[in-house]
């Protein structure tokens, strides 16, 4: 084993890692609020809101991530009519795909709060939307925090799929260096180590939050 290959190519690899982190972060930032809206729609008593939300969620969840990413990569430029860049096209695919998974987490979080709290909010003259935003979602968020963080870790792992459209995220960068240096053993070991560290940090955070939740 010759680890110098990693030191020598570290700037390139870190650029890739930064791309992965940026992509995952932006995906979560956009997917989460979107998922909140869809989740509220998903439990609405109005059919014309509930059905489309359900169809969206099920359609996304029954397709592989790679297909959705590919699909949006080619679809987004068609819709916008002008190129928005590879990064944006890929990101939109991820946002759409993961918002479906976030929706289901949020939905079960909302349902863990219970109908009576909704009735309490509504009975004081708050609108349904206000009740959701100020009473139900904050409680739901607290209950679902561990599941949400776990999902964020999955998003981070999922960003590896971006390599299919040539985006230089971390794994793709590692791959490119491997092609040149022919040192796959060292490079992939390093990549696995990095993914482990990031994901372990995430799941530790989830555990911490879970503990804090029990205390309050």
């Amino acid at each position: 084993m010759d680890w110098s290959v990693i030191i020598n190519n570290l700037p390139f690899l870190m650029k890739g890692l930064w791309m992965s982190v940026k992509l995952a972060t932006l995906v979560v930032i956009f997917a989460f609020p979107l998922a909140c809206l869809i989740a509220v729609g998903r439990i609405s008593t109005r059919r014309w809101v509930r059905y489309p939300s359900a169809i969206f969620v099920n359609a996304m969840r029954s397709n592989p991530l790679i297909l959705i990413v590919f699909w949006f990569f080619f679809l987004v430029p068609l819709i916008t009519g002008k190129p928005v860049g590879d990064f944006a096209s890929v990101m939109i695919g991820f946002v759409v795909f993961f918002s479906a998974y976030f929706t289901e987490i949020i939905r079960s979080g909302i349902q863990s709060v219970g109908r009576n709290q909704i009735q309490a909010g509504l009975s004081t003259g708050l609108t349904y939307f206000q009740t959701m935003r100020m009473i139900i979602l904050p409680q739901a968020l607290r209950n679902m925090m561990p599941a949400l963080i776990t999902e964020c870790v999955i998003v981070f792992q999922g960003t590896t799929i971006a390599y299919v459209v040539g985006l230089r995220e971390f794994l793709n960068s590692t791959f490119l260096i491997t092609e040149v240096t022919l040192r796959p053993a060292e490079l992939y070991t390093f990549a696995a180590f990095v993914y482990f560290v990031v994901c372990f940090a995430g799941s530790s955070l989830a555990r911490q939050l879970e503990k804090r939740q029990v205390r309050t």
Binding site: A120, G121, L122, T127
Partner: protein
């Protein structure tokens, strides 16, 4: 005002195929305290929830101050005139007692934070938990929580208060403190509809009593009349069972 505050007309409510309220017509005038009793599943809670349209009834109508609930364009605004108190309090666990109480005045009635808080402190004083404002619901006893919930409902400055078994989740010593608050409210002329099995409260505080069974109002009488004169057999059986338990 001669009109009744709440006028219920041929109201029927179904849950799927099950008819929970069966063609109910009745009305409630301002300033009166009416107790609703009846066996479990008779539709008492359902009736209360129709009065602020938490339940979407399928037939008939409820008029609140002459306004049809069925045709009400802004049901949230209408609800902000009706306070509701639940069996399990339903305080918001992630907010302090003060925030629980000021939430609706600020966001549904458009009061300023300062006004809402001033009102909240007055009400907390009134329900005798002025020192609990900063605490969270889980830090209060059941009786204190229910009184906070009453304060939250009163913060709407409501024209009507609905109580759905406000004491049945409480220990006996806490029941007393909640009933005392409710008695004071009735004395002050608040219009109240109270689902309860507390017959002592009913006898001492209420003006009228409604007995429900099978989604229908079987009987409605002035309180003195209800307790002194013989009534329908079903109501009598029910009363015997309730009073036996005490």
């Amino acid at each position: 005002m001669t009109d009744p505050l709440v006028d219920i007309r041929d109201l029927s409510l179904w849950y799927e195929k099950f008819k929970a309220l069966d063609n109910i017509s009745t009305s409630f005038s301002s300033g009166r305290c009416v107790v609703i009793c009846g066996p479990s599943g008779s539709g008492k809670s359902s009736l209360l929830r129709c009065i602020n349209r938490l339940e979407e009834f399928q037939e008939g109508d409820v008029l609140f101050e002459g306004q049809s609930l069925r045709e009400c364009p802004n049901i949230a605004a209408l609800r902000s005139n009706i306070g509701m108190v639940f069996q399990h309090f339903e305080l918001y666990p992630h907010m302090s007692i003060l925030d629980n109480i000021t939430l609706a005045p600020r966001h549904a009635k458009g009061k300023s934070k300062a006004d809402a808080e001033a009102l909240a402190h007055t009400l907390l004083e009134r329900v005798d938990i002025a020192d609990q404002a900063k605490k969270y619901p889980a830090e209060l006893s059941g009786g204190q929580q229910q009184r906070a919930a009453i304060a939250r409902a009163l913060a709407l400055e409501p024209k009507l208060m609905l109580f759905d078994e406000p004491t049945s989740a409480l220990d006996p010593e806490m029941i007393v403190e909640v009933l005392r608050v409710m008695r004071d409210l009735a004395k002050d002329g608040m219009t109240m509809l109270v689902v309860t099995h507390e017959m002592v409260f009913a006898r001492e505080v209420s003006d009228e009593i409604i007995f429900m069974d099978d989604g229908k109002i079987v009987e409605r009488k002035e309180t003195d009349d209800f307790f002194s004169n013989p009534h329908s057999k079903r109501a009598q059986d029910f009363l015997d069972r309730i009073l036996m338990k005490i």
